[in-house]
């Protein structure tokens, strides 16, 4: 079945006007100028920020690739008090500049935190209060590899609105501007709330979008030409549990957990206890905090009596791959790696997940020839 899509065209200046208007009601996070590359910033900048005064529209950087910060930062912060109160803030937030890889990763977090058996009220509240405005990836990084895992560099689902920028320098008025795709009721409501002047996108404009997207796919193919992945990513790790590649590949791992911290799909946490006794009433006050944790840490799976299912670094290293490429797909029909490549950039040991997986595939091939 063809997915019904609603795509509109609007002018750049109308979009910028709209964004300014939303600031009265919504908090806004968007990629802006960073030290090395665009990073997420809060708009308008807080009083103390030296970059205050940067105009919306002028300051927001669209397109490009995903930011260093994963989307999960905004919905599932590194540290959060999860008791005793219900989530307090009702502040609605718009996040701009999200790329397809991060949206896909968010759908994994949704499966975990919005599990109907035990929905996490803190995640749920923030998710409800956040509007996700994505845009097409236009400049994939050397570490990007979404296409190797069946993904695309442009969002196909999971967004409220998605933006595609038409060439700004075109002579023809209709060839400039922005195509806005509506992905949800939330997105539609936002457009209607601010009465943005919209016209349905023309065939010609959709064709320009399509051509731009295809060019980015070509770029990604070029970036990843040395990596051999099977057509079906679900076969990457199948039957490779005892492959010697795991020992070899984990030799440069120091177990620092940068890969899982920076991963947009990693969700594991430590539930920590800071509760105290209320001495006057001699009843306890339960205080619980949730901190990002990592399966890469030695004691992650250890039990009180001392048993530890993954004592060796190699076992923990391997577990990360299996969790992402086998266990999550088995449980949710979703890969928990979306090819954003952040772990490649973050790794102290210069371990490239694409190289590891290519070796794993190669190993199978040579094995079969034996």
């Amino acid at each position: 079945m063809m997915k019904e899509t609603e795509v509109y065209h609007l002018k750049n200046e109308d979009w910028q006007k709209f964004l300014k208007q939303t600031l009265a009601k919504y908090g806004l996070y968007a990629p802006g100028k960073g030290l090395v590359e665009p990073e997420y910033r809060i708009y308008p900048p807080p009083q103390s920020s030296p970059s205050r005064g940067e105009e919306i529209g002028g300051g927001v950087i669209y397109g490009g690739a995903r930011t260093p910060q994963p989307l999960k930062f905004f919905i599932y912060p590194p540290r959060e008090k999860v008791s005793p109160d219900q989530p307090s803030s009702d502040k609605k937030t718009i996040i701009l500049g999200i790329k397809a890889c991060d949206l896909k990763a968010l759908s994994v977090l949704d499966k975990i935190f919005l599990d109907p058996d035990f929905p996490d009220p803190f995640y749920q509240k923030r998710r409800e209060n956040t509007i996700l405005i994505s845009d097409d990836c236009t400049e994939p990084k050397e570490s990007c590899f979404c296409i190797l895992l069946g993904g695309n560099p442009f969002p196909e689902e999971g967004f409220d609105l998605n933006l595609s920028f038409l060439p700004a320098l075109s002579e023809v008025e209709g060839d400039k501007g922005i195509l806005v795709e509506v992905g949800s009721k939330k997105g539609k409501d936002l457009l209607e709330e601010y009465k943005i002047p919209l016209l349905p996108a023309e065939e010609k404009q959709l064709k320009i979008r399509q051509e731009k997207r295809e060019k980015v796919i070509e770029k990604l193919k070029e970036i990843n030409k040395d990596f051999k992945f099977p057509q079906d990513p679900l076969t990457l790790t199948k039957g490779k549990y005892d492959s010697p590649v795991w020992n070899e590949a984990s030799e440069d791992c120091v177990g620092c957990a940068a890969c899982t911290n920076i991963c947009p799909a990693c969700h594991c946490f430590l539930l920590s206890e800071l509760s105290t006794m209320n001495s006057e009433l001699s009843t306890p006050k339960f205080e619980k905090f949730r901190y990002w944790d990592s399966c890469q840490y030695t004691g992650f799976a250890r039990v009180a009596a001392g048993a530890n299912p993954r004592k060796k670094l190699m076992e923990r290293f391997r577990n990360r791959f299996y969790c992402k490429l086998e266990y999550k797909p088995e449980n949710f029909e979703l890969l928990a790696c979306t090819g954003c490549g952040r772990c490649i950039e973050a790794c102290q040991g210069k371990i490239d997940i694409r190289e590891v997986l290519t070796k794993l595939v190669d190993y199978k091939a040579t094995d079969e020839h034996r």
Binding site: V82, P121, C268, M277, K285, F286, A307, P309
Partner: protein
């Protein structure tokens, strides 16, 4: 208007009513939770010791006992160490129950073998009490229990009663005997050679320390029990209890949500099950 949701991380208060010393490092605590916690046998709860931490435990009391929950706890870590210093009247936090317990309905009409080691008898006591509550529904109930020494045997006074119960066959062994021990010497699996079961119509329930789980399951399989009729209690690091924090991952499963009771058949291909 968003409905106010239940906060799944938040415990309720439970008062320690009584502390029973079982062995030099195992005590049974009788808790009275602020509100009744109704559980299926084999499910677990999370206990919070304020300021120290939280840990998962499977109740050892009968699921038919409603206002109180008994939990048998070995002093092995920070939380359990602090618990062992606590006395009647003190307050802890409790939340749960979580996970999947023993499917009693699948055991009706069958011969039930219970194989327990050490403090692994704790969840099995709850299971056994549940069985005895409707003993006529089971063809036969055999309990095999092993401990390191006679002193390390839990529920000493209850064993006296169980050994007299006509609905129950009880076999016990200890690794290291003393002068007064008249029962079997050796690891718990040696008890399995003392009787025969109708393997066409039986289930086996295994719970104990990791090494005993491994060899116990192996022996039960050798004897001919079917993988789908062997129930294992996989106690991992169930921290959040609600399938989110990842600490109790066992291959694709989260022990807290998918277990802690698994059939051997379900997890036999899963790596790291005995570690």
């Amino acid at each position: 208007m968003v409905k106010k949701m239940k906060n799944p991380y938040l415990p309720i208060e439970a008062k320690i009513e009584k502390v029973i010393s079982e062995t030099p490092n195992i005590k049974t605590f009788v808790f009275k939770p602020q509100e009744e916690i109704s559980f299926a046998t084999g499910q677990f709860v999370e206990l919070t010791v304020p300021g120290i931490g939280e840990a998962p435990f499977t109740p050892s009391s009968s699921p038919y006992l409603k206002e109180k929950i008994e939990i048998t706890i070995m002093d092995v870590g920070q939380v359990t160490n602090k618990l062992h210093q606590m006395a009647a009247g003190e307050i802890v936090g409790i939340r749960g129950p979580y996970g999947k317990g023993y499917p009693l309905d699948k055991m009706y009409g069958k011969e039930v073998l219970i194989l327990g080691g050490g403090v692994g008898m704790a969840p099995l006591r709850s299971f056994l009490l549940a069985l005895l509550e409707e003993a006529d529904k089971f063809k036969r109930i055999v309990l095999c229990y092993g401990a390191k020494t006679p002193e390390d045997i839990v529920y000493k006074s209850q064993f006296v009663k169980w050994m007299k119960d006509k609905n129950l066959e009880v076999y016990r062994s200890v690794d290291k005997v003393d002068s007064k021990w008249k029962e079997t010497e050796g690891v718990v699996t040696v008890l399995l050679d003392k009787f025969e079961m109708n393997l066409e119509n039986s289930v086996a329930i295994v719970c104990g320390p990791p090494i005993m789980m491994k060899f116990g399951t192996k022996r039960v399989l050798e004897l001919g029990h079917r993988p789908e009729n062997i129930y294992l209690s996989m106690e991992k690091n169930m921290s959040c209890g609600i399938g989110k924090c990842g600490h109790c991952a066992l291959g694709r499963f989260y022990v807290c949500k998918d277990g802690p009771v698994f059939t051997y058949d379900l997890i036999k291909e899963t790596p790291e099950i005995w570690d």
